[in-house]
Amino acid sequence: MKPLTDIDQLAEHYDLAIVGAGPAGLSAAARASELGLAVLLVDENPAPGGQIYRSITTTPVSDRAVLGADYWRGRDIVARLKRSAAAYAARCTVWSIAPDVESDASPFEIGLSLDGRARLISAGQVILATGAQERPFPIPGWTLPGVMTAGAAQIALKSSAIVPKGRTVIAGCGPLLYLLAGQLAAAGAEIVAVLDTTPRRNWRAALAALPDFLRSPYLAKGLKLMAKARRSLRFLGGVTSLAVEGSDRLSAIRFERGGASESLACDTLLLHQGVIPSVNLSNAAGCAHDFDPVQHCWVPQLDDWFASSVPGIAIAGDGAGIGGAESAALRGEVAALDTARRLGRITIPERDDQAAPIRAALGRTLRGRRFLDLLYKPAAQFLAPIVDDTIICRCEEVTAGQVRDAAKRLGVTGPNQMKAFLRCGMGPCQGRLCGPTVVELIAEARGTTPAEVGYYRLRPPVKPVTLAELASLPQSEAAVKAVVR
């Protein structure tokens, strides 16, 4: 591996640029460079690992039992990258991917920033391995200090060895909920309750997918995690509504279960409702997306080799649809093989040969996924908040009531029009947190589906770039386009 710490160290051109150094990007980079491609791997985080293996090379958590064996497996993946010839730039953010109008030979122009300086480089092929984000979970009062995502607490634990102080409540649903609760408890957090919002009626839909899940490699692991968390922590199931209490800061969480309302005083509330693919960059790069009714989120349209609708851009890992860490790594390898084929480094039979065992393993890791998706599909009242005052766009402080009103009374049919009316999705997060909720609210108000409603049309830069950074760019035609587009 060739570590790049200064933006001037980046070459003008790479065969392949990979965005994201989680299991998908790390494996894709290792495999592609093993096949002889000139690879650039970039990640905005200071160290490789992505979400699951976050800070794996730098974590101050030395007690291995706290984060569990799955976490430490990340060391091998990073070690493989280190043995490879790939160039790796940490703290480097990709804010734009566009066809290079000036060159026939290098199809893509990529806008990056490192340490407050921006650059445009070119690449023949791109693999997006940008992973997942937590599904937005807007409840009344969720913007108050003291409320965080459960993933945020996990990140603080992995990268800084800190856990929330005081009475902590975790609320939500999803397979990661048990893992997160268990890790935080093992690290010494005082978890007073886990409020489980998994809708009981989901079981009926999920049972049809149970046979596959019974043969899933995750079954035993998942059951063990769940049993351990349930034994040691206070689980309250069947929670149907949640609201944060407090004026300047969280003081308690009010919830309903079995028709009765209860309140629990706490200092920290951690929200979690599963994860969804991060689609901002793929959307802004022009890749087509579909609404997946089972995972209940937007996923890019991909072929068997994870190639997107934009020729030359592949999408691997959880960004291609939630599949978990092991499948992320395998998808990264498959995408790398096809990239090498497209660049003429290997033939189609060579690609297929090498991919066969990886595909078999991939099939095993994805087995049983459907059961999890159906079981942990969030309840409608959490996808489209019922209480009108609930803020859904944290940046521009737009409420659920405003969106509902605009959809019903003013006849706003889609999220892009909603932007113009209410400014939701116009803040610095560029719809990352309100997008999914705006779509649900419009669909509900207009009696249609999220697929019909569509999603925000996003434009580069997908992350804010300072004027100083833009001013430092060479003024080529492409550079000007990257800004004015």
């Binding site: 905005e44 985080n45 200071p46 979400q51 800070s55 730098t58 101050p60 958590v61 030395s62 007690d63 039992a65 706290v66 703290r91 953010t93 407050g116 984000q133 937590e134 913007t143 108050l144 200090p145 003291g146 409320v147 965080m148 995502t149 993933g151 945020a152 990140i155 603080a156 634990l157 990268s159 800084s160 060895a161 800190i162 856990v163 929330p164 102080k165 005081g166 093992a186 690290a187 010494g188 957090a189 300047d248 800061r249 200092d267 920290t268 991060s278 944290r394 940046c395 521009e396 402080e397 803040g427 610095p428 997060c429 990352r432 947190l433 992350k463 804010p464 300072t466 004027l467 100083a468």
Partner: protein, 110 residues
Amino acid sequence: MSETRTDRDAKTGRGAHSAATLSFSFDGRRLIGRDGDTVAASLLANGVTVCRETPVSGAPRAPYCLMGVCFECLVVIDGVGNRQGCMVPLRDGMTIETQHGRRQPEETQG
């Protein structure tokens, strides 16, 4: 490490080894952080409960996702506004301030 943190909102987890300490300021208060922390993590570890006030209503906000998604961790770092605290590694001697509303003109880079 735990004794160097003000230990209000976050505490050092069990089984952690310590690292070099860094000195920084938040709204003029001198605080101690750990090498390897991001700005947002360090503020949390020091019990800082609010890092910005929103441009629309002035409501207090604190880091929410710690992974670069929500932009609730925006702060002014060494005079430059709108910086995502959860993505910026803490450095010794940093001057960090609450971001009040939108980025102010005087907070732009020189």
